[in-house]
């Protein structure tokens, strides 16, 4: 539904990718792991390899979670835009089809920290 206004209403979003000095935002969350309250933001170049996103973005951020070391990365399943998705760890974010402000989620079967029942 178009906005109702007295004159043409045209604005530019305030966080479009070109404002990020060549980088882009990716939001990451770990399903069923609520010690970390909310999805967190990574600000990385689209050329970054997905494995780097995991190693240098996700792992250091989530250090405090006791489940972190127990993750079997072969069993991990992923969602992008809330749909099942298989990332290629050796490819860049861009080649994995990740766009600015995409939300990715990962699910670790059998691990469930600090959030009660499954």
């Amino acid at each position: 539904m178009p906005i109702k206004s007295t004159k043409k209403y045209s604005v530019t979003p305030r966080d479009i990718q070109k404002n990020f000095n060549g980088k882009q935002l990716t939001y990451v969350s770990w399903d069923h792991h609520l010690l970390f309250s909310a999805p967190f933001i990574l600000c990385l170049s689209p050329e970054t390899q997905f494995s780097e996103l995991v190693d240098e973005g996700i792992l250091p951020t989530l250090q405090a979670d006791p489940d972190l070391d127990k993750i079997n990365w072969h069993e991990v399943t992923w969602l992008k835009a809330n749909k099942p998705w298989v990332p290629d760890f050796s490819k860049s974010l861009a080649d994995n089809g990740l766009v600015h402000k995409d939300q990715i989620r990962f699910h670790t079967p059998n691990l469930n920290t600090l959030c009660g029942t499954k």
């Binding site: 539904m1 178009p2 906005i3 109702k4 206004s5 007295t6 209403y9 045209s10 604005v11 530019t12 979003p13 305030r14 966080d15 479009i16 404002n19 990020f20 000095n21 980088k23 935002l25 939001y27 990451v28 969350s29 399903d31 069923h32 609520l34 010690l35 970390f36 309250s37 909310a38 999805p39 967190f40 933001i41 600000c43 951020t61 989530l62 405090a64 835009a81 809330n82 766009v99 600015h100 402000k101 995409d102 939300q103 989620r105 469930n112 600090l114 959030c115 009660g116 029942t117 499954k118």
Partner: protein, 508 residues
């Protein structure tokens, strides 16, 4: 005619009518379209402004008289509170986190409401409606000012209060409130009335003020009790204005119903998201608790809101679309938000804590179905980490909802173990939301919400490029002083010392 014929004395309603709406007239030198240029575009149809019912009928002289009396009382108490070190009668300086949030987030909102009502007080073509809005406008600036004055004394002794004007515009969590009030004041006059006059004042204000003031009373904060009560006495007029306004819109034209209902849906949800902050204040920040957020919701939300929406049903109005989800979430929101605030407390201009055992038992009694199951384990984990000397902090900066600006920390309505992820694409750009209802709000007016200023996303842009230290300077946050855990804070150290000094000096 003989002017000296004695006229019958007018009753109050009649007198108020000649004192207000009779002052206006039908213009002929300029068109009404030009005089009231904003009254049509929202699509609300008003056929007869004279059908407007003035809720309270205060003439200006009565207004001055009663308001002056309130002001005299307020400042007398405030002065005496300051002169006698009243702050040392607080249950604990920990309590002040609630006041810090209030000052940083809500006080600027009072000012925004003042501006909004001044605009509405000019833009509506009905004199009766205008006067009611103008009175609310002047009341709202009163509230902003009494709050600034009330907190001023605390600022002299405690940290975190010192730069609320800068923090209003820059720090991350205040954008929940800023975006709320900016959203309302950037809307047309009718939507503004539904947003602030009806949804905020009528449906939600009791949830904000009454428990908050009781909390202040329980915790020895006489200054805030006084400003709270003093402000709330104006609020009764404002609530009535909000209710009259919605009835007026609905009675004027059946076409108004879907528009008004849409606004109720939107503003209830925006309001309830904003008030989650109050939930965390009540459940966690008051050293001496009054009632739980859920109990307050039961009384002031379910009971009163229920009665209200029953009353409005005759116009075809149904309860807000988000009502059920809000109701379900009452078992969770205050915990989820507080857990977030605590783990990000390096970035807050107030202190937080892991609740004490006693407090956790209280929470468990108040939230028997959820606290022990979902939230206690996380608090316990944080407590253990802190005891091990490795206090848990979340350095991952949170994704914020494009609409309500909360961190994405709320869970699915029916699954408290799963964060709620919602997203949409508009003009090739992705947007993220905390809930279905925030996403609906966006989808109704995407052009508006794409411009939202999300403080976290801004932090990664020029000029800060993700530099947290630079960010702290920019938001006027003094690391290690304004932020962090209360237990380790200067506020606590000082408060305990001063209290001790008092005891060692005092004569029994």
């Amino acid at each position: 005619m003989d002017m000296k014929v004695k006229q019958k004395k007018l009753n109050k309603k009649e007198k108020y009518t000649v004192q207000t709406r009779d002052l206006g007239w039908e213009p002929t030198y300029q068109s009404k379209d030009k005089i009231f240029p904003y009254v049509e575009y929202e699509g609300i149809k008003i056929h007869d402004w004279d059908k407007w019912e003035d809720p309270f009928r205060l003439s200006m002289d009565s207004y001055w008289k009663y308001q002056a009396e309130k002001e005299r009382k307020y400042y007398a108490i405030l002065d005496s509170f300051a002169q006698t070190n009243g702050h040392l009668n607080l249950t604990s300086a920990r309590y002040l986190s609630a006041i810090k949030i209030f000052q940083q987030a809500i006080t600027p909102g009072e000012y925004a409401a003042h501006k909004g009502f001044a605009r509405a007080g000019r833009e509506f073509p009905g004199a009766g409606t205008q006067v009611a809005c103008q009175m609310q406008s002047i009341d709202e600036i009163r509230h902003a000012q009494t709050q600034v004055h009330g907190v001023s004394n605390y600022n002299k002794y405690y940290n975190g209060f010192h730069d609320f004007t800068q923090q209003r515009d820059r720090i991350w969590y205040t954008s929940l409130a800023r975006s709320f009030f900016d959203d309302a004041t950037s809307a047309g006059p009718f939507e503004f009335m539904i947003a602030i006059g009806f949804s905020f004042e009528y449906v939600l204000t009791n949830l904000l003020f009454v428990p908050f003031m009781s909390g202040a009373a329980y915790n020895g904060d006489i200054a805030s009790v006084t400003f709270g009560f003093s402000a709330q006495s104006d609020e009764a007029r404002h609530m009535t204005l909000g209710l009259e306004c919605i009835k007026f819109m609905l009675e004027q034209d059946p076409d108004n119903l879907p528009i008004v209902q849409g606004w109720i849906d939107k503003w209830f949800w925006r309001g309830i998201r904003l008030l989650s902050l109050v939930g965390s204040m009540m459940d966690y920040m008051l050293p001496k608790k009054v009632m739980s957020w859920k109990e307050a919701w039961q009384i002031y939300g379910v009971e009163n809101g229920g009665a209200l929406f029953n009353d409005l049903a005759r116009y075809g109005i149904r309860p807000p679309k988000g009502w059920e989800d809000a109701d379900k979430a009452m078992d969770h929101v205050s915990h989820q938000l507080m857990l977030g605030l605590h783990q990000w407390n390096f970035g807050t201009s107030f202190h937080t804590d892991v609740p004490t055992e006693e407090e956790m038992d209280w929470l468990s009694a108040k939230y028997p179905d959820t606290f022990d199951k979902y939230y206690r384990p996380r608090w316990n984990f944080m407590k253990e980490q802190a005891e091990k000397g490795k206090p848990f902090k979340n350095m991952g900066l949170p994704k914020l909802c494009q609409v309500c600006q909360s961190p994405g920390l709320y869970t699915e309505p029916d699954d408290p173990t799963m964060l709620c992820h919602r997203e949409t694409v508009f003009e090739n750009e992705k947007y993220q939301f905390c809930s279905d209802h925030c996403m609906d709000i966006f989808n109704n007016e995407p052009e508006k919400y794409v411009q939202a200023y999300l403080p976290m996303n801004q932090l990664f842009q020029a000029p800060l490029y993700g530099d947290l230290n630079a960010w702290m300077d920019w938001v006027s946050l003094r690391d290690g002083v304004d932020n962090g855990d209360y237990e380790l804070s200067e506020d606590k150290k000082n408060f305990d010392k001063w209290r001790n000094d008092v005891k060692s000096n005092s004569v029994d």
